[in-house]
Symmetry: C2
Subunit: 451 residues, 2 copies
């Protein structure tokens, strides 16, 4: 960390002294991935100066990793030649990612700066649905023929390798560009130079199609420990590859999406600050309205027991505690089940096993909570009957919440819905109503309140 | 998917007919990563039969991916020779992962089956703290010397490549095994054969130390798009590498941990079903007790306003709706902020920018919710005064909840605590108390209730 602070200071110093030659040399020693945080610290005009001092390959590599705001500002300051230099060196998937975030005037400039062939490819990738494998693939990969020797393969890699995103996996195609199999570079390296490619091919190759869901693609990476995955079209021709770094981005996005759904929001792929106030409000209002309406039900139920809390007003004091505890217990369970389903650790066939586990956990937790509560009530109110009523309600509420928390996400999965919508907010609302009902019924029965 | 079902059926058929030779051939055509789901479907004795039909390399590779329960059962059925065959072919990090999950008698058998040198390495890795880079690294990597030629490097890779986990990155060491730099295999492949390694080295190499937090290691993978990261000891000697597949596992674990913390649980690294009922209860009870005690405060506050709800009992009916809505609004914001902080999309210096955004979102959302509520109250109760009281409370509650949801996680981060603990449950409890206070105070003021 200290080193990074030093780097920024050194860059600032050299900029101030206008020692651009020295700065150029210094920049070469900085790791590409550290530039975004350096750019964070320096003025906008200076960013452009620093950027112009970088050599072309590095400039493109670093540009791809900047956030969209800064990319847009830089493009607007670039001359057409500068823009072309950067875009030429970008990998296809990065170009597409950038285009997707830019306003249309910037997109036009970018597309004008790529040649006819690339423009066609970019437009094709842009046409794949947002959540498809096609939208995150790159079209740069190493393709080999099965009658090549290892030596010929190395020759080919030497010639075209630098412009390809990865050489770790090479793909063997037939004359119709259909995918026959894959070769890991390791197998090429340990093979004899005269050996035929066809003897080294791994035909057990997992492929995805351009229209497959990108989240499924990410899951395959997680399961099979690949570094790249071939993408084929409907005719089984290889059209691109997805690399592991893109899969990691999808996994991160997916986790963020689950967090958002579980907090009762519509998922949003845009960055927090790039999303407008009204878009934020729109993403949040729907679930708030739905949950507000359903929690009115709890309120209506309470008014039905008006005589009970008129007779024993202290009852009302326990409503928040019961509602909160029920909600928390339910959300603990639903979170574990939703996570387990997402990572395939829990399967639908484990339903009764999970439910039985949750019931036992609920009994242990419920008894401890009611004992703690009982002690508190006996000290504060010196009322054994009240302690029993609240204690019993707590146990029933905890068991019930944990059962809901277990059943509802699995039911959602069974119905092919996203289990994540069965998270804390929805479970809380359901459990609220039930816990209030249980509470007043137990109170009426034990305390002999006439309704 | 259909293909997979077919695979299982074919395996079952061949097992039943005891056509083991045919089965052996059939198994060779199945992708290694599909075996866990096949084993899920067949009897335990049959798993052992299938396993014995695999060739040694594949058997080890597949074994590493099975879940711990099945691994334990298989080891218990293995002869000493069989166990040695599997363990010999495992990569070091996989062996360590397996050992960490096994009971001590199984661990003893595994350690007995590795040779003296490997046993020393395994014990060293086991001694690294659970959450350190050392605990997830593998000790198998390609090391080169700087005075080698590219040709000599290829010779070395050819000789030792097969026993190394990855050849994608090669590490250049000096005579004291200190790390000088890294070479991507792509750069070796496009270089001339006579070129010196020293001319190809990338000295801008990001390293981690054995004791670095593995979550920080995973973040580096995300930031720099690497496929492997070198791990050095205190003397800067290269002792191992972390590969991207292990980093993905850490990211998944970390996300699960955040989900658990945000649902008011102590994080648990064990699998759901392998965790005992009492361990589950222990992980959940602490936060439930803390939150229960704090929600009693809300109850106590309510009793202070006994005269208010004795005068106008319908007020009580709105408590659940206000509490739930406040809680949901707060958890929406806290989730976005916690996620943004975790992914570095939101930084501490953005505090006022984020707060200002949330206040505006809260006003939009709050006004919509109060209008919806107002309409409902006018229809159901025909009471304008009540509509105004509830509407005003709603707006104040929403703004307040969103402010808490924004401020508390950032405060936690500032205090070097995990922002995730400031999630839904804690915010809900805090917001509950405040919303009830606001509600009764507005009601008392507008409805002229004498306290």
């Amino acid at each position: 960390m200290l080193e990074k602070v030093f780097e920024v200071e050194e860059v600032l110093k050299l900029l101030e002294q206008k020692k651009y030659n020295e700065l150029k040399q210094y920049l070469e020693r900085i790791n590409g991935a550290d530039f975004p945080s350096i750019f964070d610290e320096i003025d906008e005009e200076d960013v452009l100066i620093v950027f112009r001092l970088l050599n072309k390959e590095r400039a493109a590599e670093i540009f791809a990793e900047l956030d969209s705001d800064l990319q847009e500002k830089l493009i607007n300051s670039f001359s057409d030649v500068e823009l072309k230099n950067v875009v030429d060196k970008l990998f296809m998937d990065d170009t597409v990612d950038i285009i997707e975030e830019m306003p249309s005037n910037v997109v036009k400039r970018i597309l004008k700066s790529v040649d006819e062939k690339d423009r066609k490819i970019i437009n094709e990738i842009l046409n794949y649905p947002d959540d498809s494998a096609g939208s995150i693939m790159t079209t740069e990969f190493i393709d080999l023929k099965e009658d090549m020797t290892v030596d010929q393969a190395f020759e080919k890699i030497k010639k075209i390798g630098l412009t390809k995103e990865t050489v770790y996996n090479c793909y063997v195609l037939d004359t119709n560009r259909k995918l026959i199999g894959v070769i890991d570079i390791k197998d090429l390296l340990v093979a004899d130079r005269a050996q035929k490619i066809k003897d080294l091919i791994d035909e057990n190759v997992v492929t995805v199609t351009t229209l497959d869901d990108k989240e499924d693609v990410a899951k395959i990476f997680d399961k099979y420990d690949y570094v790249a995955l071939p993408v084929v079209d409907k005719e089984e021709r290889l059209v691109g590859i997805v690399t592991v770094d893109d899969a990691i981005d999808v996994m991160k996005e997916e986790a963020s999406e689950d967090f958002e759904i579980m907090a009762a929001m519509q998922p949003n792929e845009e960055e927090y600050f790039r999303t407008s106030v009204f878009k934020h409000a729109k993403n949040r209002i729907l679930w708030l309205l739905v949950l507000m309406v359903s929690s009115m039900l709890t309120g209506t139920i309470i008014t039905n027991y008006e005589t009970a809390f008129a007779a024993i007003p202290v009852l009302v004091a326990f409503i928040p505690m019961l509602m909160d505890t029920g909600g928390n217990c339910g959300s603990q369970t639903s979170t574990l089940i939703i996570r387990g389903l997402a990572t395939d650790e829990i399967k639908l066939k484990d339903f009764f096993r999970a439910l039985w586990k949750e019931i036992r956990v609920a009994l242990v937790v419920g008894v401890i909570l009611s004992l703690a509560n009982g002690v508190r009530i006996l000290i504060q109110y010196k009322d054994m009957q009240l302690a029993v009523v609240v204690g019993l309600t707590l146990i029933v509420t905890v068991v019930m919440s944990k059962c809901f928390g277990c059943i509802l996400p699995m039911l959602a999965k069974k119905l092919k819905l996203d289990p994540a919508i069965m998270a804390a907010p929805l479970i809380t609302t359901i459990v609220d109503t039930c816990s209030v009902l249980v509470f007043f019924n137990i109170a009426v029965a034990i305390m002999h309140i006439s309704m």
